[in-house]
Each structure stands twice: as C-alpha cells, then as structure tokens.
C-alpha cells in the first residue's frame, strides 16, 4: 500500500511523479517565494519567506469562506500570487466534522454489519452517568447499505460479491441525492477485490472513498470510521481547495497534513481526512525546526489557548499515533500525537461538594469570558488569577485595546478565597497551581506514560497564554530549560514552510524474527519499497527512512522501530535488542515470547531548501519599559520583546511583554536571547 500525496486516483503514480518532478524543478530554479498560511478560528496567520527574509502578518479570519482572508493577506503583504509557493493549514475538514456539516454520505459495508459505525466499540462514554444524553447519530440506518459477499481472514473469497450489488448501490445513490460514498468491507486490507468492483460500478461525479485506500489496516470499525469521515468531508475540502486555486492562482498550492508533511491540493481533496490536524501539525513542524536551530532535539511542546491546551513530544521528530480521534470518532491514520485537554486561560475555578478547590473543565470562553473582561463573567478564571497576581501586567490590553478590570478579578477571588479560608491572592495562586497540575498531567501523558523522562527535554512554549505558566510547569516536571520561540503567535504558519514533501510506502508481511529467511526477506522487502519509491521519484534526490513494526507474537499492538545499521546475521539480534529496549521503555518489562515483524515502512523524502530564519541584530541598549508589582516577587521590570537584541540576558523576576502574550520569568530563571530571536530560559 502506498500513499504518495500527489494527485488523483485517476492518474497513475508514474504520471503523478512526473508532474511533481516538473513542479519541483521549476520551483528550485526560480527565485522562490514561500508563503505559509494558517487559518485559525480568530486570525489567519501568514509567514512569508523570500530573498528578503521572513515576514509575518495577521488578518481576521473569514469563517464563511476562509479564502477571502487569505486573499486579503496576500494583497496586504503586496505579494504576487502567481509567483507563490503556498503551503496552507486548513480547518475546513476539522470544522465540518466538529460542526457535523459534511456532505450526505452513503456508508457501504458487508451485509449484517450495517450498524458498524453506530455501535462503535459498544461502550458508554461516561461510566457513572445514569442519564446520559443520546447524541445525534453520525449516520442513520437508511444511509448504510449492506452488500452480500465476504472475504475471509486469509484474504480468500468466502462468499462471492452478489452480481446485483452494483445495481443495488446505483439505485440507492440515484434515489437519495448522495454526494459521497464510503465503502468498508471486511478484510479489504488483505484483498481489496470486492471494494474495487463496487467502486467500478459508480459514476465519476461521486466522491468515492475506499477503506483499503484510505487506511489499509485491520480493525473494521476504526478503518470504516476513518473512511466514512474521508467521504463526509472530502467534497467540501475539494471544493474549497479548487476555489482557492482558482481565485488566488498561486504557482503551487500545498496543504499540510496531520502527520506533519505537505501534500498537493489534489491529493488533499481525495484524502481529506488527513487534514484533521492540518494547523496544529504546522506548530509541531515549526517546533522541530526551532529545536534544530537551537540544538534542542528533545522537546515537549506546550500550546495553551483560552479553552484548551495542546501538548506533544518531539524526540528528534514529533511522536505519531494511529489512535487519534476527532469529535469522538477514531481517525486511525498515522498522525502527530497531539494530546489536548480542556484547560486554558478561560478555565473556571469552583469548589466541590467536599470543599476542595477545582479548576475547569468548564470554560468562560470568549463571552462572557474571564471576570476581568468586564463582559458579564462572574466566575474567576485562570486569566483572572494571572491578572490579580500581576503576571499579566495591569497595563495589558485585551486585543491591544481594551483595559482589563483588575478590581473585578480581586473581588471575585475575595469571595472565592473566603470559602477556602484564603485571601484573594492566595486563592488565585491555588487556582494557578491546580490548573498547572492539569497541564502537567497532560505533559506526563505524552512523556512519562510513553517512557520518557521530562527532565531530558526542553519545554517549548507557544500560543497566547503559555508564557505565564511555562516556567512553573517546567519546575513541576523537573525540567530546567524553556524555549519561547520567535513568532510564537504565528507558529503554525511558520511550520507550514518547513514541512517536507514525503511519500510513505509500506507492506505488511508477518515474519517470525527467529526464522532463518527473515533477514533476506526483510532486506528484499525494503529493496522493493525503495525501487518503488525511486520509480516514482524519477531522478529526484530521495532520502529514505526505514522502520518496521515489531511485536511479541500474540500482542495487539506493535512498536515501530528504526531499522538499526546492522547487516546480515547481526540484524535479528540487533532488532530483538532494539525492540526489547523499546518495550522495556514503554511498558517497563520484556517478555519471553517469540518476536515477529508485521509491517515494513519506508518514508521517501524529497530533499528541499531549508528554511533559514534571519539572525537578529545584536546592538543597542535595552531599557526597561516599566515596572509593576507581582504577588510574591515584589516589583519587577518589564521588557518589550521586540526590543531585545540577540545576546541579551537577564534574570528573573521579570515580565517580557508582546502585543498578544506575556512571558513570566520567575526568580531562579534567567533569559538569553538566541541569535535567531528565540528566548532561551534556563533554571539556575
């Protein structure tokens, strides 16, 4: 199975690669102008990179048609669209799923399993809820069609596809006005014949999503759900990207996918479900690049917003998962492992039945928002606590214009603290500690639970609210380095520019590690995959990464490990050693069971010009721009971030202020400005 994210199903792979090669040659020869565009809920961020260096820009998003904001940004930046190499992070797929605004989709599966998507894993969402709400079903029974025919667990045809199946399918589609069809048949990952034959019976104007093409792996519910979502949002993504292409007419239009690479807009239309983390993936790619620049290859990323916080782990490359979910539905494709919790600046503080203080998961959102916004909020939030304690300076303005009401925050925490027997400031401190415990918990899930010690990592912090908590979180987790990167406000857009175009080639062949033939079979398998990749690349320089899924015989989960540099006879022992090491690291024990190899995975990467950030000027003297009181730290100096030159250093306590965010540098921490403008924080 292969996914070279280039072009349509209608074009064969050789043709796709020819097109790509031609594009890339043009790209590498011409004076390139790269534009990363990330559409967010409030703002659309732009990062432009050309001979003149990097430029950043922001415009208000236009949710009804995100392309308007993009067009506006390009005009305001004065760019010539026709010369642009545009890489886009899009929320079209994600929003359509979250808001349930996908197209009318028919789900086709084996007869007898029509309720596959409705039954799911047959669990109830909340263990102790006696009166749960019945959510609207994703798909009605009428929109599911069972087809006669079965492939068995060995990939053999057990019951032939009923000859009338194509007619039944066509009649159903004709009568009901469907825009898309998702087909998921049992064991299609072993034998796709029945899925293919059904697809052949369908007309060209339908969006067709076949499970063995979307995700060629076992477990029918997860594969079926992923295939369904792909069909559900595919036509919308296709239309959107075609409109973008037509209206802006950039030279090239690429889209970032959930695994942190980029794909052509045509491929993105067909594999739309791969875009569910399009924007957030950009943030992680940027983080990886910043890590390379600063020599920090082990990073925990921390992206805190108003209602939620995203965290992830980068150990050289960002960790991936195949167990992701969107709106409760599994998306079992390999995607970056971003863990989200419902804690952010707007999380509300409350006191439970037993008198213990709690924070979240309820959020005040943007309206009424925190008490200090003065928009009617009465319940104190994390943001109110930061303001009351002075970590958000009293001079801060919401959105750069609106003053924050510190008095109101004080009042809210006075009554909150009274219940706990604490003064307002101590109550605010308690709220911050509890909120930070939730965030630390999220960071532990992606590190400690995966067998990594946070102390070996640096905390890389972006997003609006993260700078207020980064240092104390680091302390909680035994970490002593924090990076507050340049352009943290447009981080995903920056990452768009650093995404590599890559193809994934994999083949499942179950082999016992102990078998004498395994070494030659494995190297043959990789040789095959490399040949395949090279045929497609037609002379473009490729770099390969080889991995293999390994498990103990009988286990349901494999561990993907890099193929060690071992040849011939030593390969099995080296593989066994690596696997046991990885198993030990992840689960704390190794077993005395035979080891087997499941899937060989080859990543072929098209090498391309690296993103180079301009060095900061290191001149001038820095002046404090003000001073204010921070609870427990006395009067602390303020610095404007954009005035700090490379090489500047200072010690906490201090506040470093930007238009959209604040960095709280506590005592015991010192700050250095990196050549490229990143703030490097270190604990003494």
């Amino acid at each position: 199975m292969q996914h070279f994210y280039l072009s349509g199903r209608a074009v064969n792979y050789v043709e796709r690669i020819r097109i790509l090669r031609a594009r890339l040659y043009r790209l590498l020869k011409s004076p390139a102008m790269f534009l990363g565009v990330d559409t967010g809920g409030t703002f659309t961020d732009f990062v432009c990179f050309d001979a003149g260096g990097l430029r950043f820009h922001k415009v208000l998003s236009t949710p009804d048609d995100p392309s308007r904001a993009i067009g506006q940004g390009i005009r305001e930046l004065g760019l010539n669209a026709a010369a642009l190499h545009l890489v886009h992070g899009s929320t079209v797929a994600t929003n359509a799923i979250l808001e349930r605004k996908g197209v009318r989709t028919l789900f086709v599966t084996n007869k007898g399993l029509e309720d596959l998507l409705t039954i799911g894993r047959q669990t109830r969402p909340k263990l102790y809820d006696l009166t749960p709400k019945t959510g609207a079903a994703w798909i009605g029974r009428d929109d599911c069609l069972g087809i006669e025919g079965r492939i068995d667990a060995n990939g053999r045809e057990n019951t032939p596809l009923a000859p009338e199946s194509g007619d039944i399918l066509r009649r159903k589609l004709a009568s009901e006005g469907y825009e898309a069809v998702a087909i998921c048949l049992l064991f299609s990952f072993l034998n796709p014949d029945h899925e293919r034959r059904l697809a052949e019976a369908l007309s060209d104007d339908l969006f067709v999503s076949l499970s063995h093409e979307v995700l060629s792996e076992y477990r029918e519910y997860e594969r079926g759900a992923t295939t369904f979502l792909n069909a559900y949002v595919g036509p919308l993504v296709q239309r959107y990207l075609r409109r973008l292409q037509r209206e802006l007419a950039p030279k090239h239009l690429f889209v970032m996918h959930s695994a942190g690479g980029v794909m052509t807009s045509e491929a993105a239309g067909e594999q739309a479900v791969r875009l569910v983390l399009s924007g957030p993936a950009g943030g992680l790619v940027a983080a990886r690049e910043i890590g390379r620049q600063t020599g920090e290859t082990k990073l925990l990323t921390f992206d805190m917003g108003g209602t939620s916080t995203d965290v992830a782990l980068i150990d050289g490359t960002p960790a991936k998962t195949t167990e992701g979910k969107v709106a409760g539905i599994p998306v079992a494709l390999a995607m970056l492992d971003i863990h989200t919790i419902g804690a952010g600046g707007g999380s509300m503080a409350w006191i439970d039945d037993a008198g213990l203080p709690q924070v979240g998961p309820e959020s005040a959102g943007a309206r009424p928002g925190p008490v200090c916004y003065g928009l009617g909020g009465e319940i104190p939030t994390v943001t109110d606590a930061n303001l009351l304690l002075g970590r958000i300076p009293p001079t801060a303005r919401l959105g750069g214009t609106m003053a924050l009401d510190r008095e109101a925050a004080h009042k809210a925490f006075t009554s909150y603290g009274a219940t706990l027997g604490l003064g307002p400031e101590h109550a605010a401190e308690a709220v911050l500690r509890i909120a930070e415990e939730h965030m630390a918990g999220a960071l532990r899930v992606v590190s400690v639970e995966r067998g990594f010690d946070p102390a070996d990592f640096a905390l890389l912090c972006f997003g609006g609210a993260g700078g207020l908590h980064a240092c104390s979180l680091a302390e909680k987790l035994g970490m002593d380095r924090v990076i507050f990167p340049l352009a943290s406000g447009a981080f995903s857009a920056l990452g768009m520019l650093a995404g590599r175009q890559q193809g994934e080639f994999s083949r499942t062949r179950r082999m016992a590690l102990a078998d004498a033939s395994t070494v030659s079979a494995l190297s043959e398998l990789f040789a095959e995959l490399e040949r395949e990749a090279e045929t497609h690349a037609q002379g473009l320089p490729l770099a390969f990464e080889r991995r293999v899924d390994v498990r103990y015989s009988g286990q349901g989960f494999s561990i993907t490990i890099d193929i060690p540099d071992a040849s011939g006879e030593s390969l099995p022992s080296a593989l066994a050693e690596r696997f046991e090491e990885a198993h030990l690291q992840a689960y704390g024990h190794a077993l005395e069971r035979p080891i087997e190899l499941m899937t060989a995975r080859l990543t072929a990467i098209v090498e391309r010009q690296a993103l180079a950030l301009p060095a900061l000027a290191s001149r001038g003297t820095v002046r404090e721009t003000g001073r204010s009181e921070v609870f427990g730290a006395g009067t602390v100096p303020h610095y404007r971030r954009d005035a700090l030159p490379a090489g500047f250093a200072c010690k906490g306590p201090a506040l470093v202020i930007e238009d959209t965010s604040t960095l709280w540098l506590p005592e015991d921490w010192c700050l250095n400005v990196h050549t490229y403008g990143h703030l490097m924080l270190e604990r003494e």
């Binding site: 007898g112 039954i119 009166t131 019945t134 477990r219 439970d352 203080p357 500690r433 286990q555 992840a586």
Partner: protein, 509 residues
C-alpha cells in the same frame, strides 16, 4: 493538609492509576485485556484501604474497595513482593478475575499497595473460559488464595507450574500476568516520587475529606424507607426465579441498604460473595456523586450494607460464583436503583438490559478460549431516551473487532447489528439491544451465562419494559432456542444468535 494540596494530590493519584492502566493494556497478550480492556488498576493505603482507582470497570472498583483489607493483613510484606489471588471469598470476585498486588515501600517504610485486576479468558475448570454452569467453586477453575508470585523479588516457580498444569493457553496467561506485574511496579515507582510522610499525611487527609462526597450525595435523597425487588430468572439448574430484595433507609447523610428477604444461595453459579454485592451497591451511589469524585473507599463510608449470610448476595465459601460478578451484580443494581427511583425519580433511569450476555467459545483440543460480553439497551429516564447498544452499569468493556475475532479464532460473524424496536416504549424510549450471530467453523464448546430471557427490564413511571433477550442455535436448517445459562457443543456450520435485551421505557406515552 490544606484543600489546595489535597486537590492536587487527588488528581495526581488518579493520573498514576490511569498510567498503570495504559501499561497493562499495551503489554497484555489476550484480546480480552488488550482490546476489550477488561481490567482495573488501583492504589491502596498500607492498611489496604482504597485511595485511588482509574475509571475502568465498576464491578472491579467496588469489590476491590471492599476486600483488599482482608488480603494485605495476611503477609509480612517486603520490597519486591508480588501477591496473586482470585479467591472470591478472600479478596476476589469470580475466578477469572485475577488480581496482582505489590507493596510500595518509600524510605524503607510500607506506605501503600498498587494493584491490577484483570479478567483472564481462562483460569481452568470444567468449561473453557471458566464460566460454565457448575455447582462448586473448585469446578469453576483454579482457586488462588492470596500467595506470592514474587517474594522479595524472586519468582516462586509454583505459580507458573500451577498455571501450566491447570489452565488453558498458559503462555497467554503468563504474558497477561507479566503485564499486570508491570502495572503494579509502575504504580510503586510513581508513588516513590513522593516523601513517605507526605504520602501518609495526604492519604489520611484524602480519606477524611472524601467521605464528604458520599455524605452530600446521600443528603440529596429525601429521608425515608424505599423497598424494591426483582428476580434473577434462574441459576442454570432449574432453581428460580430467585428474588433479590432491597430495603433502602435514608436518614440525613447516611443510608442503610438491607437485602433481607433475598433468596438463599443456590447450587448454580449466580451466587455473590459479599464483595460483589458491595460493588453493585457502591456503583449506584457513586453515580449520584459528581464526576470528579476521588475513588476512595471512604466515599462509601456513610453506606451500611446488610446482606444476610447464606443468601444469593452473601454466599458461603465454596459456592459457585462465576455469574455472580457478571449477572447477579446487574440485578443488584436494578433493585437498588429501583428503590432510589422512588426517592429521586428525576435522577434514576428505568432498568437497563440487566445482563452482560457472557459468551464463551473454546476448545480443549485446539487449546483456544474466547470470551466476550455483549452490550444492550440502557433505561430511559425523565430527561430522555436510553442509549442503544452500550455496556450498562457494572461493566464497560469494548467489543472485539470482527476482523480480530476472525483472524484469531475459527468463528465467523454473520451479523452484528442494532436490535431495532427492543427498547421499551414510553414518553422516553429505552435504548435498543443488539444482535450478534456467530458461525462455528470448527467444532467447539459454547458456554452462555445470560439473564433477562424470561423476565424483562422494568420500565418506570408508566413506561413499558424493554424486550427480553433471546439465545438461539441454528443447526441443520432450523432455529432452536437455547436456555439462558448452559453449554452446548457446536459443529462446523452451526450458528449462535444472541439478541440482547432493550432498556425499559420511562413515562406514559
């Protein structure tokens, strides 16, 4: 300890239990543990009092909260010990649930215990899956009274010898047990990141404060006496229906749950050790507490349990109990909720499917065992319809993927679908049950432990009962009905079709 520190500590303990579960799931071998997640992880004080548990399986929660004290008092614990047990009358529930427990030493003091309980697909006995219809505990499988697997770090080979001598697919069992051990060790490692004094103080403070959650939940129930009864339809040997009766007395912040009037224990395997009954009662009250309530034993302190010895709900040693945990526990919930519904009708749903529909396939010849439980309808309630095709009340295990099932076992799934119209009608409809139909590809043995085949899940406030379940066998061109409990040998081509009960309706239509 101040409330802020305590709140932080409670969150941290819960996270440790979740992490133990992640380790257990990922490194387990059998589908029942790694795919269906039929396990629970918990932490206890040095006295064996439950102090934290991940939200895994309710029947595990209550029973561990109830019975660990009896176990930990029996040993002189040393660092590196690991004790196993499954004895239903000494810490356990039914034999397939095997618990591993390890002491946690901090600064050379015994401070806590970490435990992992998992349902093993087989633990020996007369029927594959150890869930057959027997009359004596010893026929149900290998009984492990609490004993060392590891003593001060060195393995006692007797455990391995016992498993290999008495249990089907022993390599799989050893792999799963290793995963449980890994989970316990992880719990111990995490707790050791705290100081010993801090832990003992924090445990004491958490126990003290958490009783408040139980008290305020009960304070929300009007004072009074509420009586409800329902029946278990049979014990697999023709005894039945068997009454379970509950008298709930609420006085301010305390409650008495009295099962006097419940049928005597019975030869068939539907008897409950007291720990399972406690689990059912605790579950009902836990549902009345807020979502973030810390999972300590102390939240149940204000509840007094009265279960006369020798009855179904407090059976004597040696009684067969395989279905007590998975079937009778569901009916215990039905009667406790039935009593609560009289007191707080707005907050209590009509009866859910009232069974776990235990289905066990296996073969001694080819040495394989496959176990699963099936979802059904949840009861409707004052605010809406019941959920369809979900696991109810005392369990929440996942299904096994059709592809995983067919890759591992000589079975084929012919149908897996909603059982439309099976929910009880009413102003709000009960949830629908489901249909699952297997075809045997090789000859094998089938055991069924099911309920609500002759009685129906009750409706409330005028709502109709849910549809009864149905077990059927297709052989030689005809369907015949199978009893709710029992075993049958299947030949290639035979099919088993289970239709699970719907939930009761709520309110007049």
């Amino acid at each position: 300890m101040n409330p802020v520190e305590l709140s932080l500590f409670a969150h941290r303990l819960a996270a440790i239990c979740e992490e133990m579960g992640a380790v257990l799931k990922r490194s387990a071998i059998s589908p029942n543990i790694r795919d269906r997640e039929d396990f629970s992880c918990a932490l206890f004080t040095a006295e064996g009092e439950l102090i934290a548990q991940a939200a895994h399986i309710p029947v595990h929660l209550g029973s561990m909260a109830f019975a660990m004290k009896d176990v930990v008092g029996r040993f002189e614990w040393r660092d590196g010990d690991l004790v196993l047990f499954n004895d239903p009358f000494l810490g356990g529930t039914h034999l397939p649930d095997v618990t591993a427990v390890a002491p946690v030493f901090v600064e050379e003091r015994l401070i806590a215990f970490a435990a992992a309980r998992a349902h093993h697909a087989d633990i020996g006995g007369a029927s594959p899956g150890s869930m057959g219809v027997e009359t004596r505990l010893e026929d149900e499988g290998l009984v492990i009274s609490p004993r060392y697997w590891f003593a001060a770090g060195s393995e006692d080979p007797q455990i391995r010898a016992l498993i290999f001598a008495r249990v089907r697919v022993p390599e799989e069992r050893m792999g799963d047990l290793s995963a449980q051990r890994a989970a316990c060790r992880l719990g111990a490692t995490r707790l050791a990141e705290f100081q010993a004094d801090h832990l003992t103080n924090a445990f004491a403070a958490l126990i003290e404060v958490s009783e408040g959650y139980g008290r305020s939940a009960i304070a929300g129930i009007p004072n009074g006496e509420y009586v409800f009864e329902d029946v278990l339809e049979d014990d697999g040997f023709g005894s039945g229906p068997l009454t379970i009766r509950c008298r709930l007395t609420v006085a301010n912040e305390t409650a008495i749950v009295d099962f006097t009037g419940t049928a005597d224990q019975t030869p068939g395997p539907v008897n409950c050790p007291l720990a399972v009954t406690a689990a059912g009662v605790f579950y009902c009250f836990r549902c009345l507490m807020p979502a973030h309530t810390p999972q300590t034993a102390a939240i149940f302190k204000p509840i007094e349990l009265r279960a006369p010895a020798g009855t179904l709900v407090n059976a004597g040693e040696g009684a067969a109990v395989a279905a007590g945990n998975v079937e009778t526990s569901q009916r215990i919930v039905d009667v406790v909720l039935g009593a609560l519904a009289q007191a707080i009708p707005d907050r209590i749903p009509a009866a859910a499917q009232g069974t776990m529909n235990n289905v066990i396939f296996g073969s001694d010849g080819d040495a394989w065992v496959y176990y699963e439980t099936l979802a059904g309808g949840m009861g409707a309630h004052a605010h809406g319809d019941g959920l369809s095709a979900v696991q109810c009340h005392m369990t929440n295990t996942k299904n096994t993927s059709v592809e995983v099932l067919e890759m591992h076992y000589p079975l084929r799934i012919r149908e897996y679908a909603l059982r439309n119209g099976s929910g009880g009608v009413g102003k709000h409809r009960g949830g629908d049950g489901l249909v699952r139909e297997w075809e045997a590809l090789k000859s094998c043995h089938l055991s069924l432990l099911t309920e609500r085949r002759t009685t129906a899940p009750y409706g409330l406030a005028g709502g109709a009962p849910g549809a009864r379940g149905l077990n059927r066998l297709w052989r030689a061109g005809t369907w015949s009905e199978l009893p709710a409990k029992g075993g049958v040998t299947l030949e290639p081509g035979d099919r088993i079709r289970i239709e699970t009960p719907g939930g009761g309706g709520f309110g007049k239509r």
